[in-house]
Structure formats: structure tokens, C-alpha cells
Subunit: 310 residues, 2 copies
Amino acid sequence: MHAHRQLAALALLAGLGAAPAFAATDTQAPTPTRAELLAKSTAGEWRTPDPHNLLVMQLPTGRVLIELAPDFTPLHAANIRTLARQHYFDGLAIVRVQDNFVTQWGDPAGDDKSKRRSLGEAHDTLPPEYTRPIDPKLAWTPLPDGDVYAPEVGFSNGFPAARDPADGQTWLTHCYGMVGVGRDYGPETGNGSELYVVIGQAPRRLDRNLAIAGRVLEGMPLLSALPRGTGPMGFYDKAAQRTPIQSVRLASELPPAQRPAVQVLRTDSATFAALLDAQRHRHDAFYKVSSGKVGLCSVEVPVREAKPAH
Amino acid sequence: MHAHRQLAALALLAGLGAAPAFAATDTQAPTPTRAELLAKSTAGEWRTPDPHNLLVMQLPTGRVLIELAPDFTPLHAANIRTLARQHYFDGLAIVRVQDNFVTQWGDPAGDDKSKRRSLGEAHDTLPPEYTRPIDPKLAWTPLPDGDVYAPEVGFSNGFPAARDPADGQTWLTHCYGMVGVGRDYGPETGNGSELYVVIGQAPRRLDRNLAIAGRVLEGMPLLSALPRGTGPMGFYDKAAQRTPIQSVRLASELPPAQRPAVQVLRTDSATFAALLDAQRHRHDAFYKVSSGKVGLCSVEVPVREAKPAH
């Protein structure tokens, strides 16, 4: 009975698995599961990331895919592409894992300029790109459920974002799986050679204070389940604790056959809207009360392996 | 320069480390750090958890401390105490780790009743205790910053909580580190023999649908950094992947010298209010924009080792 207990609770908690038979006394049909809604999506509701914006990071444990967000941080995207083309990240490492906060990678040599790897053709400093002007040409699907931190939140081509009509600015938000650009004190000190990913509760206080370069589409467990560093701020004390980065490549630099075949559900699609609605108003054999609302960072934008084109 | 970049960014992101010298052109003093504010706290602002409510879970990797929350879930606390006194959990295991969701432990035998451990004197079913009536005698420190999911949020003796004046109910919330009671479909099917802890973005949709038994005070990295299970819903496929639970004891059952000496900052204290304010209005060499608000689940209630009484 207890595996059933586990599975029942968790099938529904996770929004996975088959929907159970609903209690006969209940007249309302159970809310469709995420899997059921996705199964009914159409091909046109899925978007294939531009290989020019797709980073493939190879770790000893597997592959991490990151989609860059040039609509919001074009100069950072360009610099990261330059670094990837130079194979800058190959042989660098994950240097920091702080619980309920971030996993960070870059050059373990730190500020030792004599040992630190050259940025080559990439820029050492960049304009901040923490926010950008709201523009009607920029994709925007509002999430009307409210937010503690920003006047308006929503999605822009699959990325969680916020905006403030009062100052006309919009920005990407620090949700789980979002990839940010580490920097020093000065706002121009980030360049994309040190990146972090959010692995815990969304640290929204960082919004508008750091450039967000993109989002992890695949491989989050390879970054989130690493041993936490025991040095200050989760830096690893010993070199042996670091996870080496075997390579980082731009998908567009790979032979077509080697490019990852992933697709992201369009956040302006009817299926995405249906997923949000199912999350707000879930009614089934497990849930006793529906939340009525969905928080921006509680939305997981679906990613799938694309079917091979035969 | 890059280790400096890392450290600077992260000292402030993490709220750790010494405050940097503030830019000379800035006339406003930098916001004190968390460490600085805690250093000024008084002894009376810290609360020592009742050993009757403190669970000590020993894993091969270290110790996890969980404070039970009998103000909200008294029947579950009593049942979990009964289970701990019987040494029920000793030799059971962590059976599930689902990325950005929960780590769960209990009896790996699942629903095989012939193999499943007896609950002994503990109850197999309990009333749900998902919410309880608001009561002026129940501690309540409101957090006025707003919330997506509940009309009112705040803290009750160190636990994040919500309430709805419309129906007169209050409940604990599924924030990072909160420990919930797994159950089957029926609302009376949880008993505390299977517990989960939140290891990712707060799954607030679970609020009022599951009983929350307490909060992890120490040892979260031992639960959050485990390999994710690759079976459905993050269950481990193979027995060898599970982390064994060596023992779970109620601190009150341990000899006084062996009881963990931890203290929790009172959430009705001036120092806690100052920490919230520093988080909302942070202004220092790193932060360019302060968030102005703080979300309920972005607040980490401080825990410290108590000084030994000599």
C-alpha cells in the first residue's frame, strides 16, 4: 500500500503518470495531466532553438544544453559565442555550488592573471544589459497571476521575464535553471566567462542586478545535484572537488548530425496556456484544493527531444 | 581579477563576507550584511527548539535536524514521535529525489505488506491537518510584501505560513527545507512514516493539500545534493542508489549531553525584522537596484549552534 501511497501522491504532485480514476461521487472531470496536455499539442506549438543560440556543455556526467537569450542580452550572447568558438571553456570547471542558490563555472585560476586563460577575441568588459526597453516587437505573453517582485511578469519566447511600465524596462528573471553572468562590483565587469545557474528558490533580488544569458533546457540535475562547496559562498576548497568541463560548443559550430535535437513549447501557444490553467485549477483525486494562481518561477516551460526528420 | 570577480559578486549575492568599501561618490551607507546584523542580535532573540519537537536523522554523510511543528500538525507530530521512539526509521532509506521538487524517505518495501515494517503503536491513518483555525494565541508575524498564492503570509515561531481571513484558516507553506507528509489519494492516508522535503522552487500548489510536519534546521545539503532518481517521479530504480537512514531519534530521547545544541532566530524579533528590511532595501557596492520586496520563501530563518553552557 505504501508504494501506492508514494506513487499516488507523487504522480500527482509531479504532474506525471496516468490520471487516476476519479471518485465516482465527484461530478467534475479531473484536470488533465501535463503529459495528457502535451500529447495533444500540435507540431506548430513547438519551437526549435536557433543553433546559433544553443550551447552544448559536455561534463563527464553528461550533456547540458543552454539556450542563449539575445533578445535581452545580445552583447553577452555574442561574447559567449566568441568564447565558445575559441573553445575557451574546455578544461575549465564548475568551481562553486552553494545550496539553495547557484552552481557556477569558469576559470579555477581565479584572479591569478599569470595563470588565467586569455579571453582571446572576446571582450573583457561589456555594458550591463540588466534590463532593456519594452518593445512591441519583443515577444510577451503576460502571466496575470501577480508577482511579489515586479509589476508585470510573463514569458518571452520561453524565458520567464518581468517588466515595469513605469520605467519602460523589461528583464529576464532569476528562476530555477536560468543562467546568469557573474561579475565583480562594477556593472560593466561581467563578460560571460563566468556563468552561474539558479539551483534553488528563485533569488529574485538579483533581478536587474545581473545580466541573464539564457536558460538550461536539458541537464539541470547534472548541475543541481553536485556536492555543495564547503568554502566561503560554496566555492570548492580543493581542486579535486571541481567538476571539469570537457567542452562547450555552440550547436551551430557542430556538424548538423551532431546538433542536439530539442524543441521548446511556445509560450504563446494554446497548449502552454492550457498547462498554466491546469496548474492553477487542478482538480483530481489527489488535490483537495487548487491554488487558483501560478507563480512565475513555478512554471516549467516544456522541452522535448525533436523527432528525427526522416 | 576573476577570483575577485567571483568573490565580490558572490559575497554580496550570498549576503556573506565582509562588506566592501562603498563607492566614494555614494552618500548612503551600505546596507549591513546578514552576518553583521546577526552579530548584533541579543541572546533573548534566539529560541532553543523543544527537544520534544526536534528530530535527529543520522545519515552516513552526516546529521539532519528537523523541527516539528505541533502548533499546525499536532497529531502528525505525535505520530512521528511515536515512530521515532520505536526506532521505526532506522535502516529505512531515502527512496526518491526529484529535481527541483522533493527528496523523500520511508520504507523501500513500498506496498509489499509482507515486507513492510510495522508502524507499531503509531496510527496508520490520521486526520489531514492541512490547515487549522487562525487563533490569537498562535504566533504570527506578518510579512506585508504580498504573495501570489495566499491572501496573507508571515511567520509563526520560525515557520513560514499563510492565512486566509475569509475562511479563518492558517497553514504552513511549502518553502525550501519544509518537511511534508507523503500520502495516498485519500486525505486521511498520511501518517508520517513517509516524509519529503522541498529541495527546489517552492511548490506552493501543494499548500493545503498535504500536512507539513516541520522544517529542516540543519543538513539540507545532505538531502538536496543527492543524485536524482531516474525512475518515474524521481524514485530510485535500484536499491543501491538509496541513501540508508542510520537512525532517527527525538532529541528528548537522547541523553542531554548528546542533544543537538541549536537555536533559531525568533521571527518576532527586531533582528529578524532588520534582516527582512536589509533584504528588501539592499544598497551596497554590488547591488544596483534593490528589490523593495521579499518573498515568503526567499527568507531563510537563521539557525545557529548554541554556545555550550559552562
